[in-house]
């Protein structure tokens, strides 16, 4: 990993759904330790792109993650995808959702795994929700548990898909700090977001995914402010 400059290399990647071309010959790199913020209109393929990188869906072209080619259907051990719908395991409490990851990936004993899991919940201000089952958590709490579960993997690359969509402003700041810390720790983060609060918190210039590639874009305008301005 130390000698690899690009955590993610995307070369001439094309994705079609039937006749519709989502993006064509997409080429870009995410360097090791880079925080890459992606935005773009709904349906532009941001989520699909993350799922392609994670090896979940087939594509045309070539992708390498930490120097290893991505093959659809084969999970990549270097990254973790945290989707907008966190799909928590419903038979396990918030704490045990995270502890299971520690237990299976790091062979920690159940008590040790639960102890570590508490730490991740604490970081995301979720201790009060530790023993609650996913159906008893709000949408925002579920998203934060999903993020905590992803953090527990300690993987070098994080693919985050709209992870603040249901989170209130105060908690967004916590999530923003967590992402900033991942970046400081040298992790590679690809964040798909429409959220101006989180972009501002991360002081990052977003890129816009368009059919022909990524384009640098200024600060995302707050949707409410944009609507107000248009109405005026």
């Amino acid at each position: 990993m130390d000698r690899i400059k690009h955590a993610i290399q995307i070369r001439s990647v094309t994705k079609r759904f039937g006749e519709r071309v989502l993006f064509e010959n997409l080429t870009f790199d995410a360097d090791v330790g880079q925080l890459l913020v992606l935005t773009g209109p709904s349906g532009s393929g941001k989520t699909t792109l993350l799922r392609i990188i994670a090896g979940l869906i087939p594509f045309d072209g070539k992708i390498e993650v930490c120097g290893r080619p991505v093959i659809a259907g084969t999970p990549c051990p270097d990254l973790v995808l945290i989707p907008q719908q966190p799909s928590l395991w419903e038979h396990l409490s918030a704490l045990d959702n995270i502890a299971l990851v520690r237990h299976l990936l790091f062979k920690e004993s159940k008590s040790e795994a639960r102890q570590k899991a508490s730490g991740y919940l604490e970081i995301l201000d979720l201790m009060q929700a530790a023993d609650r089952f996913p159906r008893r958590l709000s949408g925002g709490e579920q998203q934060r548990v999903g993020l905590a579960r992803g953090l527990a993997t300690e993987r070098p690359i994080f693919l985050l898909d709209e992870i603040t969509a249901n989170i209130d402003r105060d908690r967004k700041e916590i999530v923003g700090r967590v992402i900033a810390r991942l970046h400081e720790e040298g992790k590679t983060v690809v964040l798909v977001t429409h959220d101006p609060v989180i972009v501002k918190l991360l002081k990052s210039n977003p890129y816009c995914l368009e059919p022909d590639g990524l384009h640098a874009r200024g600060i995302i305008e707050n949707e409410d402010a944009k609507n107000d301005r248009q109405q005026r």
């Binding site: 994670a54 090896g55 979940l56 999970p75 990549c76 051990p77 973790v80 995808l81 989707p83 719908q85 966190p86 799909s87 928590l88 395991w89 419903e90 038979h91 299971l100 990851v101 299976l104 990936l105 089952f133 159906r135 008893r136 993997t153």
Partner: protein
Amino acid sequence: MEYTWDFTSVWRNWEVLLQGVGVTIVLSLASISIGLLLSFPIAFLRKSKLKFVAWLSLAFIEVFRDLPVLVVLVWLFYCLPILLGNNVRLTPFAVAVMGLALNFTALQAEIFRAGLEAIPLGQLEIARTLGFSRYQIARYIVIPQALWRTLAPTLGQAVNTLKLTSLASFIAVDEVFHVTTFLIQETYRPLEFYTILAVLYLLTIMPLSFAIQMVERRLEMRFGQD
């Protein structure tokens, strides 16, 4: 109608009746245990990518779900020994366990299949991206969740099997219904014995019904939304 109730012969044969209840419970437990062991693999096979295997599983389910339990019991008791030859002797109890277990397996396999299909695919996808093996996904995510989700209908199915044990009286298994019928022929007190029989069934089944309600409440706490 004037009828003088007289439970004297019931009290005199109390121990025989209780033995019948014991046989009913053992017969139920044996059939349900075997059915539980068989139904989970059959539910998995029903979802197999190998079409022949999935078809075999479906054929098993359809046959034993659709056939009346009494027909299965009578066929196993009278026809199977002829087909197997004279060397094989099956006791009425063994045949009853087999017949009830086959019925339970077929119905329970469908309950488990529904439980497996109710697990959102996103949960399995996340587990795969995290690098969990197929065994780990089955062991830690699929099976526990399918068991939790199907616990209430499984208990309901167990109650149903307990009720169906009375059909074993047709092949002379000494379960409580058969014992009661025999005692009625001996004492000529059908009203008293059938009434007590109903009470005995209720006393056996009602705790299970309460257990189902408790499980449903627990499941509501776990899987239900606020």
